[in-house]
């Protein structure tokens, strides 16, 4: 019985972890390329949840088909946000603190807009997969979770290919490593950062689509929670390391789900954070990061 529960927890931890990883990965693309702390990231994840809800109630098509549409729409939103705020913030003395507060303001505004259009009650996506559950041995896995995991893995694979095989992805990683040097070799950092911002917001919203499949209910107030998870995950994986963030997300997701099996509900929430503290103490630069410390 216990082993079944444990396997169940491992599986759902893996699924949630992959999605947390995507949130962290997109967050670290922004922080890495432009040292901007996007505190409104979670609001865009939630906006993705609402976007798929609107798509589904308007067209009745399969929710996963909304991803290309959501991706493009939020890519444009991200580009607009970049040109509105970031060049100005980067001219200040302390972009980190200034951007944290600016995007805290954006997060308040985005939350208020979501609340205005969708009210405070939690919504859910009434799409039912057939069959609704898969049974592997003694373990039951909802089809929605498998679909979310598969799509999540596809996004991660596409992103990895983009970052490591295409010239744009390489430029992006180069900008994370050394923002000054890449300008010397002739890359327009402004355009690159705008594209990175668009990409990150698009990934965040697409992750929201998948989260709407996995979590039965969502409301306009959960943005901050996702932002927090995103930051914990990137600190765990090493700042400025997109793929490290995904591993960090999986570690966090599995720890959280396994803890629910053994600990009371309230304490199990703390486990992910305890792992964070332990990881930081043992390996201050994160699992994969290289950061100068003193």
């Amino acid at each position: 019985m216990m082993t079944t529960l444990l396997i169940q927890a491992l599986v759902s931890g893996l699924i949630l972890g992959a999605l947390y990883g995507l949130i962290g990965c997109s967050l670290t693309i922004i922080y890495g390329t432009m040292r901007i702390v996007n505190f409104s990231h979670g609001e865009f994840v939630v906006a993705g949840c609402f976007a798929v809800l609107m798509f589904f109630s308007a067209t009745g098509l399969h929710p996963l088909l909304s991803i290309p549409l959501v991706f493009v729409a939020f890519f444009l939103v991200g580009m607009c946000l970049y040109y509105l705020f970031v060049p100005r913030l980067n001219r200040g003395d302390d972009p980190e603190v200034a951007s944290f507060l600016t995007f805290y303001g954006v997060s308040l505004m985005a939350g208020a807009i979501l609340l205005f259009f969708f009210q405070a009650d939690t919504r859910s996506l009434n799409y039912v997969f057939t069959p609704s559950v898969f049974k592997i041995g003694h373990v039951f896995i909802p089809t929605a979770h498998i679909a979310a995991l598969a799509t999540g893995i596809a996004i991660i694979a596409a992103l990895t290919w983009f970052l490591y095989k295409t010239i744009y992805g390489k430029a992006l990683r180069a900008a994370i490593m050394n923002r000054d040097a890449i300008q010397i070799v002739g890359v327009n950092i402004n355009t690159l950062s705008a594209l990175a911002f668009g990409l990150a917001i698009a990934i965040a919203a697409s992750t929201g689509v998948l989260l709407a499949l996995v979590f039965p209910a969502f409301g306009p107030f959960s943005g901050m929670d996702y932002t927090l998870i995103g930051f914990v995950v990137i600190v765990l994986g090493g700042l400025g390391h997109p793929i490290g963030a995904i591993i960090g997300g999986i570690v966090f997701g599995i720890a959280e789900q396994v803890a629910i099996v053994f600990l009371p509900q309230s304490l199990s929430q703390a486990v992910g954070f305890v792992i964070l503290i332990a990881a930081i103490t043992l390996r201050p630069s994160g699992l994969f990061g290289k950061v100068a410390l003193r």
Partner: protein, 314 residues
């Protein structure tokens, strides 16, 4: 005007202003003013100034500053309610709790920038969850603790005293060797170490000082409302508000957090009165505009634009 005389002049103006302020605020209860607004004004000035010691002078932005506030509120409530001691014992317990917790968390200061901020936030979440999970006869569990008595006037005067003590400490810090060492660490840690500043010890002093201010504030708030629970005592909004107020006025300045708190509380109040539906949206907009156009805060930007204002602002 020599530099010493400049410091002397502006410090005397500021201290004179503080004395008048203390007198005016001290007379408020006697004239029957409603204390709610004023109590929280003092509270936020204290928290923003306490945070400024860490964020402004030392360059560490603790998102989880609320951990100290919450632990102070709980230490006071547990001492008074569970052990039947008088409220001053609660304050001592709160101060001690602040010192102990900040020493426990001191290790996190090897992290810099956003790393430090996020870990500090994670620690605040852990504190909340741990206290909520404790048995009810130890820390009230998830329902919190009701003190069973309240003394708003007493709490108001305690808050006033703490605010004045905090502002005097920050004023002293701004011209002391310790404050100079802290700024040196903030601006260039390597050079600071080269000229013989013991980085670990100096920033630990700032950290403990900052923590004790927050834990005392938490204890006084518990006395004021006579109720403590994990959701409000460890509400992350306490940290964010303190950060926003301090930044709005100008991090690293003495007067900044005071000005920032007053301005932002008035703006908040106006928004609530006139646009109740749009209040959160507008608050967000105000924060965005402030950061876009006055990134070094009101006082910081004034000093930068008109250097002669250094004679009175610092």
């Amino acid at each position: 005007m020599s530099s010493n005389r400049l410091v002397w002049t502006r410090t005397s103006i500021w201290l004179g202003f503080l004395a008048l302020l203390a007198l005016g605020l001290g007379l408020l209860p006697a004239y029957g003013f409603s204390l709610a607004f004023w109590f929280y004004l003092l509270l936020w000035i204290t928290l923003a100034s306490g945070l400024n010691i860490m964020a402004g002078f030392t360059g560490y932005l603790p998102f989880g500053y609320v951990a100290f506030y919450g632990i102070g509120a709980y230490a006071a409530a547990v001492t008074v309610k569970m052990h039947g001691l008088p409220i001053w014992a609660g304050f001592i317990a709160a101060a001690l709790a602040g010192v102990v917790l900040s020493l426990l968390f001191a290790r996190t200061m090897v992290l810099r920038g956003i790393y430090f901020s996020i870990v500090s936030l994670a620690l605040a979440v852990i504190c909340r969850l741990l206290i909520a999970a404790m048995p009810e006869d130890v820390a009230g569990g998830s329902y919190g603790i009701a003190l069973g008595f309240s003394n708003p006037d007493g709490a108001y005067y305690a808050m006033l005293a703490l605010m004045l003590a905090t502002l005097l400490t920050v004023t002293w810090l701004a011209q002391s060797r310790l404050g100079m060492a802290l700024r040196a660490i903030r601006d260039d840690p390597d050079t600071a170490e080269t000229v013989g500043i013991n980085i670990g010890r100096v920033r630990l002093k700032a950290w403990v000082l900052s923590a004790v201010i927050a834990s005392m504030t938490g204890a006084i708030e518990a006395w004021y409302t006579s109720i403590v629970d994990t959701e409000t005592a460890f509400n992350l909004l306490v940290s964010t508000k303190a950060v926003i107020f301090a930044v709005a006025g100008g991090l690293g300045t003495v007067i900044g957090p005071v000005v920032g708190t007053v301005v932002m509380l008035i703006v908040d109040d106006l928004i609530w009165q006139h646009f109740p539906v749009l209040n959160v949206f507008l608050l967000g907009l105000v924060i965005v505009l402030l950061m876009m156009f006055l990134p070094s805060g009101i006082v910081g930007s004034l000093i930068r634009a008109k250097p002669f204002l250094r004679r009175i602002l610092f």
